[in-house]
Symmetry: C2
Subunit: 436 residues, 2 copies
């Protein structure tokens, strides 16, 4: 892709003030000061016990396309002086970025991303970095709770229609990262290799209706003819009991699955399971969907549900649609800086972080320390360094594939103390300690 191409450039996915600050800093010489900016969340969303870092890979991809071509410069020239516009034309990030790898858990104050370079080259990345990380981390954090609630059953992401069309594939990616098995979103299949899923909606049954009434059986016959007996038939368009009977009549006991999208899913799943078993379709799976969130998923744990389709609540972060991360200047020419006018105080100085754990692997504490200090080594605990290099001298380093990041989420969830996995409102699963 031509990086100066309008469709490819990410440079204007930016707040205007990043560039007005740049202009003033170029004017007074502060533009070249060596700075570190850090991304962190002051707190987790209400009641949440952990967060999942997501979006790092998408951010680094967007960073490589953060270039000002003619179209971008035309907008910049509308409110900036010629010197600043010329500087933007040559913009390349040449600094260093470290951070929590994608899929790592985070807690309040965890320095999930640390960006070091000149003030000018770092400040302009604020909006883009936060947009990506705040969105993807919010979705992954909600998704991880849902995956935990599903206790190993198949999870299908199907929320595309309830979020911005470009947020949809990013949501599918974040959900997959957090342990979902598949997505309905084809752009996520293409961009990120997430496995695709989906067979039919009520419209398909209804289009087989006519002036002479309903013909659900024709819809089922057509779908089985096109996609085989392993397909999933949607059985709740008219009457579920009749729908299940027709489905097995058409596909036989080899029918892959039936989907129920409405009603009391627990009661219906039990009824449908009994009916399927009586019809000999003992291997036919039951997929449920319809306004599911982590609580509804957990409530169905005792029911004969084989797979969950999750839409709206996944893509809106189940009540927390943004992770609330901020991008703060913490160090200038080696000196820690922080604002101090309010309760929103920041901690100055470039930081690093370790997580301590018992020898069982259960984590105990997040320890954030000054990058210039020795790594903490609390007696009797294992400690693991959390930040990894992501960009060095402007060059994006090789990132692990999504499958590896997915493993990291799974390992992280296993490392939580048991109360960290509770769905009820609570405190962060482990405390964060800030050393000086």
């Amino acid at each position: 892709m031509d990086l100066r191409d309008a469709a490819g450039s990410t440079a204007l996915l930016t707040d205007q003030y990043e560039l007005t600050m740049l202009a003033a800093a170029l004017g007074d010489g502060s533009a070249t000061r060596r700075c570190t900016f850090e991304v962190f969340a002051r707190r987790l969303p209400h009641g949440r016990r952990y967060g999942v870092v997501a979006g790092t890979g998408r951010f680094l991809d967007a960073l490589a396309r953060f270039r000002f071509g003619d179209a971008e410069l035309e907008i910049a020239a509308g409110f900036l002086d010629a010197e600043t516009v010329a500087w933007l034309r040559d913009y390349r990030f040449t600094g260093d970025i470290a951070g929590y790898p994608e899929g790592e858990l985070y807690f309040p104050g965890s320095p999930v991303l640390s960006v070091t370079g000149t003030f000018a080259e770092c400040v302009v990345l604020e909006t883009l970095a936060l947009s990506v990380l705040n969105h993807d981390s919010a979705i992954a954090s909600a998704a991880a709770r849902m995956v935990g609630a599903a206790a190993g059953r198949r999870m299908i992401e199907m929320g595309s229609r309830r979020t911005h069309e470009q947020a949809a594939p990013a949501s599918a990616r974040a959900a997959y990262l957090a342990g979902f098995d598949a997505t309905s979103n084809l752009e996520a299949v293409r961009r990120y290799g997430v496995p695709g899923a989906g067979t039919s909606a009520h419209a398909f049954t209804l289009v087989h209706s006519g002036a002479d009434g309903e013909h659900e059986i024709e819809a089922f016959r057509s779908q089985v003819a096109a996609h085989g007996t392993g397909t999933t038939l949607l059985v709740d368009t008219f009457d579920i009991t009749r729908g299940v009977a027709l489905a097995v009549e058409v596909a036989g006991p080899e029918l892959g699955a039936v989907r129920i999208d409405s009603g009391d899913l627990g009661v219906l799943a039990r009824q449908v399971r009994r009916q399927l078993d009586e019809l000999g379709a003992v291997k036919t799976r039951i997929v449920v969907s319809g306004d599911l969130d982590e609580y509804a998923i957990a409530a169905l744990r005792a029911e004969p549900v084989d797979a969950y389709g999750v839409g709206t609540q996944l893509v809106i972060g189940s009540g927390a649609p943004t992770a609330g991360m901020v991008y703060k200047l913490v160090e200038v020419d080696g000196v820690p800086v922080a604002k101090r006018s309010s309760h929103k105080e920041s901690r100055g100085g470039a930081k690093r972080a370790v997580r301590s754990a018992r020898d069982t692997g259960t984590i105990v504490e997040e320890i954030v320390y000054q990058a210039t200090a020795d790594r903490p080594a609390p007696d009797g605990y294992e400690v693991r360094e959390l930040m990894v290099p992501l960009v060095r001298g402007g060059a994006v380093l090789d990132l692990p594939p999504l499958a590896v990041s997915r493993e990291l989420v799974a390992r992280g969830l296993v490392s939580l103390p048991w109360e960290g996995l509770k769905l009820s409102d609570g405190e962060p699963a482990v405390p964060t300690t800030f050393l000086a």
Copy 2:
């Protein structure tokens, strides 16, 4: 733009099941049945009294780019037969679309979009239409409440960092449509011509700190040198009273504005106004920002605030991040169809809608009627037809510019009964009546 270009195609912003249904329908002949699908919201978000239709323009733009090029067909070929893939290669929407114009108010059941054509050409548009309309309408609906609460004061959208990077310009557009004055998002400036705004963040003040302490005054001098005395200085990095004194010392009484981003904004606005007036800066405006929603905006109505900067709560729809609209098949070959297995029943038949009003202009009722029936004319009321043609025979008709849609929102809000503008939870401002 080459419509077959990967970056330009919107065809995969689609759920997989739209294409598996297509394949089965092509197989059994139902693909060519003449169908009408309708987009509507079964209900408004909890407590809301009206919604604002937004995204129509973006959807029609995306429709023109709904084309399957080689990259899209490669994904489709992964789960579809050759006949279906060939059909997709030639896909062009050739049907008709009518709907509420962008900026129109809507209520539960309002048929905001009506898509008519063959089953095949219509069904594949479901996900894309809903993604765009659900996102943009959610943001515009929240924005309109905020604009109402601000009672004429300047509103700046600055939420880009708290939403997906591509949802950000769409949010800025929706906010502008609903009456916001400007956005921080530069991509929205480019794509949609929304006026840009923004001057500086705390990082700019902090980068002027050093080993010898704080130099807030240098930051202010630099910003005024670069952007003139009409700029907005951010005065709350360290101590607000001192910040205001330095700001006026540097810029003089011609200083454009000061921004306060933290603390008790009401108390601080009063203090700062008094201080500015005493310093002779009687025309210097006060901009407030920081976790504002419509309630916080309303609570500041009695304070000397000149402009609001709204971020997070705008882009997350102030508690309702998605509009919950659905896309339902309502008519097949002239026969109304509807599912009936649950409480989520739909009303069959292609519909149209009028809104009745008193001669004062205050609206009374939304009336949804069958397209084949006569237009309702309730005695003693004016009625206005709500749906307009948007696409005819596949050709997208000329849309009004954003400024005209913005006027429509403003007129719509004026037409509400007074309780419709209350921020408290309530019922829809007018009832929706469904005629047979």
